[in-house]
């Protein structure tokens, strides 16, 4: 693994484009640079109230007494609401914003706890007051008594007989079973079986912008909520909770200061809706950082066991995989996170005989839900360490073991889903390894290790969610372009990609395109900014909207210029004859011509993802996603054998993104995703002890600073084989997936032993070294 030659790339023929692929300055960049962009917490209104939330300080208890009369009596308090006032309303978070299926029965989180609290941080009461200080004072006047109930604080304990049950009938909130091929026959064919168990912690998203928003009731009686969210279509769930028609809730999204999945769940918006309706006044609620830690979703801890049957040459003949995920106190998106982990459990490898059994288990801890990768990264932490362990056991090169097992286009995943796009796993792995260059030599107390990991990660939502996206494009009379699209921009360049695509299709400079986004009432609904789906879904929708306009413009220009329609090209804000850019007609003149003849200059379009019917309940076989992205990351680490400190020396990531729409933005996704994954491996651990949070702020929960890691070298490949616009694949989530297992493999390479649990803290490193020494002596 010291020097690896990049595998030559297959020939691909990507059509040359004028704007797609360029690292253009994003349309949202300058506003953010000069501080002109307003985020949810920046909005205030006349006559506004300030809200606070009373939260449970205990992880498992019955609420024996809840008396809010003193708080209500405090002058300046507009309202205090408890579970009784919201009449048992639930957070319907199973299928945000889509047609989909019925919610799981009975275990959706209540908007406010009324009888029982199941985790530290669970909301119990809401206060709205004239000032923030008064709201805080009112919280202290709420009289509450708890009667402690036994709790469970790990999936292991939650699965024991006679364990306290969070929801009847048991603590298992989701379960999947995958059966493909003949496991027994496959294991019998193997020369040996390699078995390992890997563990991962809770993680906090730790985006810089705390959740927040402001709500008011407008002159039509519609409840307006301005909020930072990945899902403006939660208006449906909020309407259901309030018992009002869906067209009486309007969500006006803002630029989101980071989401990474946690702003996929409903947070402040449902509290704001209740308080605004109750008081008839604008209400503002912004979480503190500590509230953020206590009250929002975390990444699922997983324990994953692989039993892999292999031939001596490294070929996998069978695999048996067991996964246990901690869902925390309420399921939220756990059933789907578990499905993702299950469907991607075997990695980008062809395994004909495989069983996967997975469960998500309720505990009295902070709930877990979506976090960039949605179970895919946890699966990768396990399957990629297992690949290296197989190589070690067989005394083979880790790259060779992978080479013999990599899926090829046309092969199927463990659920039998055929991969139809390019699979450049080896191309990516060899480039990432090559980029590390010469190996740094060991010193007496510094052991150098190298490792890499492959990954595959879906993009687009689960195909039985019946996912759709809408986009509207129109040209103004001066030739400038307007997009209306409900896409929430969470910082990854979602808006910019759409602008850049339309600029390409209509042949105008990017600066001439303006986008209005993320308003559930005024912008056509574009679905969630989750699941790495916006470029794929809304990118395709915007092509469906812009292409007919381009075609009408070309038709009219052709008539004007006396040539055939296919002789016309749009570019530089004019329609000209192919090969003669100075010919033709200015776009603004062409638009006026069209307008005077009633030719339509706007278009609303809908893109539908492929729809499927779900998995076979007995075998877990079937399609789950529209397509997959393949990538790899390689790192070099230095482990200080005296202090246990790990220093990351080099990192390189290579991904086939299908087609890069904005090169700088793609670079940013890969570099940033890598950094989060490196933090996963080396630093981050949201710790709970008996349900109590031990890392309640950014002073205890450490995320990478600019000093912790060198920049990851980013290598972008373009197979053009994706199902997104211009052959693009999604990169938002996949960028994170290979980073942590690459570090795990590098650390194992340095130490000679494997640390079974992330993150690799100095303490765990020293323990592993001690164990290795004892085992060796």
């Amino acid at each position: 693994m010291n020097y690896v030659t990049p595998k030559p790339l297959p020939e691909v023929n990507l059509p040359p484009l004028k704007q797609i692929g360029k690292p253009l300055r994003r349309v949202d960049a300058l506003g953010k640079a000069v501080g002109a962009t307003l985020y949810a917490g920046d909005f205030t209104m006349p006559n506004m109230l300030h809200a606070k939330v009373l939260r449970s300080p205990v992880p498992s208890a019955r609420i024996a007494k809840l008396d809010v009369s003193k708080a209500r009596a405090l002058p300046g308090i507009a309202c205090v609401m408890t579970g009784e006032d919201v009449k048992g309303a639930k957070l319907n978070t199973d299928l945000p914003g889509q047609t989909g299926r019925e919610a799981r029965a009975g275990s959706d989180a209540p908007v406010l706890a009324s009888d029982t609290v199941r985790y530290v941080g669970e909301p119990i009461a809401l206060v709205a007051a004239e000032t923030l200080a008064l709201a805080e004072e009112a919280l202290t006047l709420i009289e509450i008594e708890f009667e402690a109930l036994p709790g469970v604080f790990s999936p292991e304990d939650a699965l024991k007989p006679n364990a306290p049950i969070l929801f009847d009938p048991d603590n298992i909130v989701a379960r999947y079973k995958v059966r493909k091929g003949d496991l027994e026959a496959g294991m019998a064919e193997a020369d040996l079986v390699v078995e390992n168990t890997f563990r991962m912690p809770f993680l906090e998203h730790a985006y810089l912008e705390p959740d927040g928003g402001i709500a008011w009731v407008d002159e039509q009686g519609v409840i307006n909520i301005r909020v930072c969210t990945q899902v403006i279509e939660h208006f449906r769930s909020i309407a259901r909770a309030l018992g009002v028609p869906q067209n009486r809730i309007r969500i006006r999204g803002t630029m989101v200061g980071g989401g990474f999945g946690s702003k996929e769940d409903i947070t402040v918006e449902i509290f704001l809706a209740f308080l605004a309706r109750e008081t008839g006044r604008p209400v503002r609620l912004v979480y503190t950082r500590e509230e953020q830690f206590a009250s929002t979703a975390k990444r699922h801890p997983f324990t994953i066991t692989h039993r892999t049957g292999v031939k001596k040459d490294g070929r996998i003949t069978a695999a048996q995989i067991e996964m246990v995920a901690d869902s925390g106190a309420y399921p939220y998106l756990s059933p789907y996170v578990l499905l993702y982990a299950t469907g991607m459990a075997s990695g980008p490898y062809r395994i004909d005989n495989i069983h996967v059994d997975s469960i998500a288990v309720a505990t009295n801890q902070t709930f877990t839900s979506a976090f960039r990768g949605f179970g895919g990264p946890q699966a990768a932490v396990a399957y990629e360490q297992q690949m290296d362990e197989i190589a070690k056991t067989l005394e083979l090169d880790p790259l060779d073991v992978r080479r013999i097992n990599y899926m090829k286009t046309g092969d199927t995943t463990c659920t039998g889903q055929e991969i139809k796009s390019a699979i450049w796993s080896e191309e990516c792995a060899t480039r990432a390894l090559h980029a590390l260059g010469e190996r740094t030599p060991d010193t007496e107390t510094r052991k150098i290790g190298r490792g890499f990991a492959n990954s595959f990660q879906s993009y687009g939502r689960i195909t039985w969610f019946h996912d759709t996206s809408h986009a509207w494009v129109g040209i103004e009379q001066d030739g400038t372009v307007v997009i209306r699209c409900g896409v929430p921009d969470i910082g990854a360049g979602q808006s910019n990609s759409l602008c850049q695509i339309v600029a390409e299709i209509l042949g105008v400079p990017l600066e001439q395109v303006t986008i209005y986004a993320t308003d559930s009432a005024l912008t056509p609904l574009a679905g969630t900014s989750t699941a790495t789906r916006q470029l794929y879904m809304s990118g395709n929708a915007i092509c469906l909207a812009a292409n007919p306009i381009a075609s009408r413009l070309k038709q009219r220009a052709a008539k004007q210029l006396g040539v055939a329609e296919d002789e016309i090209v749009l570019g530089d804000a004019r329609a000209s004859v192919k090969g003669d850019p100075d010919s033709g007609i200015e776009l603004s003149d062409l638009v006026k011509l069209c307008a005077s003849e009633g030719i339509e200059l706007s278009q609303l379009s809908q893109f539908n993802a492929p729809f499927t019917e779900g998995l076979d309940p007995e075998t877990g076989q079937g399609d789950i996603w529209p397509d997959f992205e393949f990538g790899a990351q390689a790192v070099e680490v230095a482990v200080d054998t005296e202090t246990g400190q790990i220093e990351l020396l080099k990192s390189a990531a290579c991904h086939d993104v299908g087609r890069a729409i904005n090169r700088a933005a793609v670079h940013g996704q890969i570099a940033g995703g890598s950094h989060q994954g490196l933090g996963y491996a080396l630093m981050e651990d949201f710790e709970l002890v008996d349900g109590h949070i031990k890392t309640p702020s950014l002073a205890e929960y450490l995320i990478p600073t600019v000093l912790d890691f060198p920049s990851t070298e980013v290598i972008i490949l373009e197979s053009g084989s994706g199902v997104g616009p211009f052959g693009a694949k999604g990169i938002g989530e996949p960028a994170l997936t290979p980073a942590a297992p690459a570090v795990a493999n590098a650390v194992a390479d340095a130490l000679g032993v494997r640390i079974p649990k992330l993150p690799f803290t100095p303490k765990r490193v020293l323990e592993a070294l001690k164990e290795a020494k004892e085992a060796g002596s």
Binding site: L9, E11, V12, L14, P23, R25, R26, D28, A29, L30, G31, K32, A33, V34, G35, A36, T37, L38, Y39, D42, P75, L134, A206, Y207, L208, E209, M255, V256, G258, V286, T288, R289, R431, G491, A492, G493, R663, A664, A665, H667, G668, A671, G672, G673, S674, Q676, S697, L698, I703, P704, T705, V706, L707, F709, S711, T712, I715, I716, L717, E718
Partner: protein, 195 residues
């Protein structure tokens, strides 16, 4: 609310504007600035960990959540929005936009302020010095690499503008050359890998 008002008269000078205020002695500068409408000063953690609320106070970068409003009495405060606007962005702000250093943008105002403080005292920093200078500012999106590049780009542009006094900073910043440099380096990578 039986607390006796103990408000203190102070004067804040923010982005060239003067505010005469009565504030509580324990009022935090971050909150006071945001209440005055300086919403570009971001509230990320309130304990001095994230740097999103950084402002220049008499030329020094401080986390405004760690400063009492009364401590800023009479001081010259500059927030990110005080450095430039959409029409006249500061060279540093423009470099951040051009280098792809901005994703969600919530850390950006603080990053720009830290960059300003750094380049004011060290106009030609090494990468190590840049990283040291930004070490109080957290970013969860970018992995910092493009932010470091933005600071380098800003330093280059500032150096060129100071060596050609006839042109203003902004005109200098808009020259095609640095963008071409970014395009060229990315384009070269693509040429080597894409086809």
């Amino acid at each position: 609310m039986t607390i006796q008002s103990t408000k203190v008269q102070i004067q804040l000078r923010v982005n060239g504007r003067v505010h005469d205020l009565l504030v509580e002695p324990n009022a935090i500068l971050l909150h006071t600035l945001r209440d005055l409408g300086y919403t570009d000063v971001k509230n990320g953690c309130e304990i001095g960990e994230c740097g999103a609320c950084a402002v220049l106070m008499n030329g020094t970068s401080v986390n405004s959540c760690m400063v009492l409003a009364i401590q800023a009495d009479g001081a010259e405060i500059v927030t990110n929005a005080g450095l430039g606007t959409l029409d006249k962005p500061h060279v540093i702000q423009e470099a951040f936009a051009d280098a792809g250093a901005i994703q969600c943008g919530f850390c950006t105002p603080g990053m720009v302020i830290s960059t300003k403080a750094l380049l004011d005292r060290n106009p030609d920093p090494t990468e190590e010095e840049i990283r040291e200078g930004l070490s109080g500012n957290l970013c969860r999106c970018t992995g910092y690499g493009q932010i470091v590049e933005a600071v380098q780009l800003a330093a280059e542009r500032l150096a060129r503008s100071s060596s050609s006094p006839s042109s203003s900073l902004r005109e200098e910043g808009q020259e095609a050359d640095p963008e071409d440099r970014l395009l060229a380096s990315d384009g070269a990578k693509r040429g080597g890998e894409g086809s």
